[in-house]
Amino acid sequence: MRSATVLSAALAVGLSLGAGALQAQTSANINATATVLAALTVTGANDLQFGNVTPGVNKTVAIADAGAGRFDITKAASSGVALSFTLPANLTSGANTLPIGTWTGGWNTSATPAGATSFTPSASATNTTVTAGTAISVYVGATVSPAVAQAAGAYTGVVTMSAVYY
């Protein structure tokens, strides 16, 4: 009788252990990773300045000229940005207009237009190549075309540049 009791207990333990082992379980890890980029900033650094212009005579400011417009960008290292522009077709002085066009552009990772990468500013995005720099200077030039009967006055327009990471 005592032997039978011991045997029953042994069977119960054996069955219990066997059932537990049927639930095979294992684990593995992966990582979730992200890189937060530094804030992208754009600053209008220099106005595009044509100075005095003569009626009937076109005047061009090139990106390497002192009157070129300049925007400064700060960005994350090793990240590319896409540039796009809102450009005026005319400068205005009250009700008078002065046509402006033939836009030129160049961007550089140093604060000089020398050696800048040329592009044509437009509403379409212009992608800069990925660089190790954290600062880009963008230079803008254009041509104004005063009419022979152009009204005298100070003419202005707004050039807007937008930058986004791509």
Binding site: S3, V6, L22, Q23, A24, I30, A34, V36, Y165
Partner: protein, 154 residues
């Protein structure tokens, strides 16, 4: 007589031991959000062939397995900075290795009590997506956290 009983007990226990080797899991690919922009949430879909996280597990054909994720609520960054991460109810997909296996969408969140019937499959891949939400003043830098997958044969 008592010696005979001990031997019998040992025989009852031993056949169950190989069961522990019936399931295996390996981490294949990290869930990689890549570059994210301050103030803009970034989502990786589980169907993303490059950035989604991936595990591969094996289990016997015909088995039912339970799938449990240990998910982080934030990634750890520079100088104790934290980047919140969330997982939606459809952010996991499991696909068996048998021909014609149909992808099954899973909720990876804890207590979802997800099960997967192996059917004729002997292995399966689990793909994981998620969403990180950088704050407007999120510190730039690299962030990381560990995601644990546990597979249990039922």
């Amino acid at each position: 007589m008592r010696i005979w009983i001990l031997v019998a007990c040992g025989m009852l226990v031993s056949p169950a031991m190989p069961a522990a080797a019936q399931v295996s899991v390996a981490g294949i690919r990290n869930l990689a959000f890549g570059s994210v922009i301050i103030g803009i949430p970034s989502t990786v879909a589980p169907s993303d062939a490059i950035r989604s996280g991936q595990y591969r597990f094996t289990a016997p054909a015909g088995a039912r397995v339970r799938i449990d994720f240990d998910l982080p609520s934030q990634l750890n960054g520079p100088a104790s900075a934290r980047l919140p991460i969330k997982f939606g109810k459809t952010d996991a997909i499991v696909v068996g290795n048998a021909p014609g296996s149909v992808p099954t969408v899973l909720d990876p969140n804890p207590k979802a009590n997800q099960k997967f019937d192996m059917g004729t499959n002997t292995a399966a891949n689990i793909f994981l997506g998620g969403t990180v939400t950088p704050a407007g003043n999120q510190a730039p830098g690299s962030y990381v956290a560990t995601i644990v997958l546990t597979v249990t044969i039922q």
